[in-house]
């Protein structure tokens, strides 16, 4: 286990988007994840995989301080973003979340019009430019524009599940974040909608760093440039087993446990 913690850094230069150092998250007395060290590459897709309850979502949420919203959650260690620990007392969690956007497991558009869904985030972040243009740009960026351009005033709820999820992605990119976190974004979608989101992720990665949590190993191998494999110990505490380029993780895993998992021997 100790080996897992120290030997999992891929050989990278300084070109990382965000880095976790000795990250531990507790929910009350429960130690959810321990000693995570993870460097996320800029403008790449990094997938976090592992069995249920291994803490991959917790790690993802630690990257933009979403765990702060859970009253009993406590985080130790560092998450470095542009060289600054986002858990420092002088850092505003709201500002962190503006720079590091998030897309959730279940599509959660606001109960407002499609237009308003995108404009709201920009407006609260002080956007002063041409809102119509921004809405169009964001919807085009999320490959949704052609489908909704004639019904921008309709409720976001009127869209299909896949469209709603792309709306949530459009909403996230409208505030122009550096990193987009995606927490199992396709788990509530059918295969065709999933494929569209995956294509979209490949387009978005030209501009954004994407971290995705997924249960689906095929998805991770299809879209992710890097993959981190998490496991859970006897105390149900999650830890990082192996981290590297997806090709290597899925074809020649260094760790026996990774191999067991990806070949379907457990999990």
């Amino acid at each position: 286990m100790c080996a897992a913690q120290t030997s999992t850094q891929p050989a990278v230069k300084d070109n990382y988007a965000i880095e976790a150092r000795d990250l531990n998250v507790f929910y009350g007395n429960f130690h959810a994840v321990k000693n995570i060290n993870l460097r996320i590459e800029r403008q790449k897709i990094t997938a976090l995989i592992g069995p249920s309850g291994c803490g991959k979502s917790t790690v993802l949420r630690a990257f933009n301080r979403m765990n702060d919203l859970v009253p009993v959650a406590r985080t130790t260690g560092q998450v470095l973003f542009h060289g600054k620990n986002i858990y420092d007392p002088d850092v505003d969690a709201v500002e962190v979340r503006r720079r590091i956007g998030m897309v959730f497991q279940k599509p959660n558009p606001f109960p407002k019009s499609i237009y308003e869904n995108i404009a709201w985030g920009a407006r609260i972040n002080g956007f002063k430019g041409n809102m119509d243009l921004l809405v169009e740009e964001s919807l085009r960026g999320a490959a949704l524009w052609d489908e909704v351009k004639d019904k921008l005033k309709q409720s976001g709820y009127s869209l299909s599940g896949g469209q709603q999820q792309r709306l949530c992605i459009a909403r996230a990119i409208a505030v122009k974040p550096d990193i987009i976190l995606m927490d199992e974004p396709c788990s509530a979608l059918d295969p065709i909608a999933t494929l569209r989101i995956e294509e979209l992720m490949r387009e978005l990665v030209e501009q954004y760093t994407i971290i995705i949590v997924t249960h689906n190993m095929q998805q991770a191998s299809r879209v992710a440039d890097y993959t981190a494999f998490f496991m859970v110990d006897d105390a149900r505490t999650g830890f990082l087993v192996e981290y590297g380029e997806s090709d290597q993780i899925f074809t020649k895993p260094k760790d026996r446990r990774t191999e067991d998992y990806i070949t379907g021997r457990f999990g």
Binding site: V103, N108, P109, F110, G121, S155, R171, V175
Partner: protein, 403 residues
């Protein structure tokens, strides 16, 4: 009909007769040759039909068709000075409308009296007996009437059941409920938002929470005592309007609409808070996370997403609470509602009565007619409550359809 002592009255013209009955105080004012003594008038009873005949002869018209000036003259000339002062104290007689003065002439001078009344079932099943009884009373007219009429709704309170109405009470109820609404809704929704979204779970917050839950079960009369001690007595200068120079000169104490509204506002505040908290708690976590994920502050999230989403639920609680305030009686009696009042309330600093208090007061009177009025009042109260609720439910459904 002339008293035999007034032997000077021989060839009185119709114009002189008119003056005798309206305006002139002394005989000499009409004709200098007549003695300088006060005119004593004896008005014929209305039941006999003589008054109508008399009016028709002297004024060439029936009472109903007389202009305001003549009615006013008849009234001032024929009621006692003390009664006139009392009427003027309520509201200057000259300022009242023609219809109101006509009503006063009928109630003060003609004085029709209800000798007996029967219920609907008695009217239907014992009709011969009733007719026989009516025939035995001299000058009696039998009238089949509904107590719930448009006049009943638009007339002020009166000591005469035939003309009494609930308009003043309806206005009082609406005023008081409006103030209770304005007090409890912003305060209650604000408190619920704080407790659900911003509270850090401190000891003080826990104490507040326990108190709110307990206050929801406190008997309403206790709130009445609180209102009496705090709003009527302690803040009397404010609730009476003296502090703003807007006091009602006939009361100038704290027993006003404002005190009652504040008391009822306090009474329903725990209900509003508890219901609003439930509604806020039911807002899906995903919605909040979506907003936080975009870099929204807590306040932006609450204001733009949580409260709009919770609004239909909050409104449901408000509807229930306001209906409760509308029908509440006991605390108002303690706070000092007026039991008999004919002046419509026109400001928060006015005396008032409310519909439930009016009904309560009518049911406690011995005359059967007032109990019939109470029944009619209850129907009005029910219809108003249904109307208020229907409006609120309509509004709520409109809000929830937006999503």
């Amino acid at each position: 009909m002339v008293s035999q002592q007034n032997d000077f009255l021989k060839n009185v013209t119709r114009e002189q007769l008119r003056q005798i009955f309206i305006g002139a105080e002394r005989w000499s004012e009409i004709d200098p040759s007549w003695p300088d003594t006060p005119i004593l008038r004896f008005i014929p009873g209305a039941d006999s039909g003589t008054l109508d005949f008399f009016v028709a002869q002297v004024f060439g018209d029936s009472l109903d068709d007389l202009p305001k000036a003549d009615l006013l003259a008849i009234l001032t000339a024929n009621v006692s000075a003390g009664r006139l002062r009392a009427l003027n104290a309520e509201r200057a007689v000259v300022e009242r409308t023609r219809e109101e003065i006509l009503e006063l002439v009928i109630t003060e001078i003609v004085r029709p009296a209800i000798v007996e009344s029967w219920s609907l079932t008695e009217s239907i099943f014992q009709r011969p007996a009733i007719e026989a009884e009516v025939a035995a009373i001299p000058n009696a007219v039998m009238e089949f009437r509904s107590w719930l009429t448009w006049d009943f709704i638009t007339s002020p309170q009166s000591s005469d059941p035939a003309t009494a109405g609930v308009f003043t009470a309806i206005l009082g109820s609406l005023w008081v409920t409006l103030i209770a609404f304005l007090v409890s809704v912003p305060l209650g929704v604000g408190a619920a938002t704080y407790l659900e979204e911003f509270s850090k779970g401190s000891k003080l917050d826990g104490l507040i929470e326990t108190n709110i839950n307990n206050l929801a079960g406190v008997p309403s009369i206790i709130y009445g005592m609180l209102g009496l001690a705090v709003f009527v007595r302690f803040f009397g200068q404010i609730t009476s309007g003296i502090a703003f120079g807007m006091a009602d000169p006939s009361t100038a104490n704290g027993r006003t609409i404002l005190s009652a509204g504040l008391t009822l506002g306090l009474l329903i505040l725990p209900l509003v808070i508890i219901n609003a908290r439930e509604a806020i708690r039911a807002v899906p976590k995903a919605l909040r996370e979506g907003a936080y994920g975009l870099g929204a502050t807590k306040w932006q999230t609450v204001w733009s997403h949580v409260l709009p989403y919770a609004l239909p639920g909050i409104l449901t609680g408000v509807i229930l609470s306001v209906s409760r305030a509308f029908g509440e009686t006991a605390p108002l009696i303690v706070v000092g509602v007026s039991t008999f009042i004919v002046v419509n309330p026109d400001s928060p600093f006015a005396k008032f009565t409310t519909l439930p208090v009016q009904i309560y007061q009518w049911t406690s009177r011995p005359q059967e007619e007032f109990q019939r009025l109470a029944a009619a009042g209850i129907l009005v109260l029910l219809v108003l409550l249904l109307a208020v609720n229907a409006t609120a439910i309509f509004l709520r459904n409109r809000f929830s359809r937006r999503y």
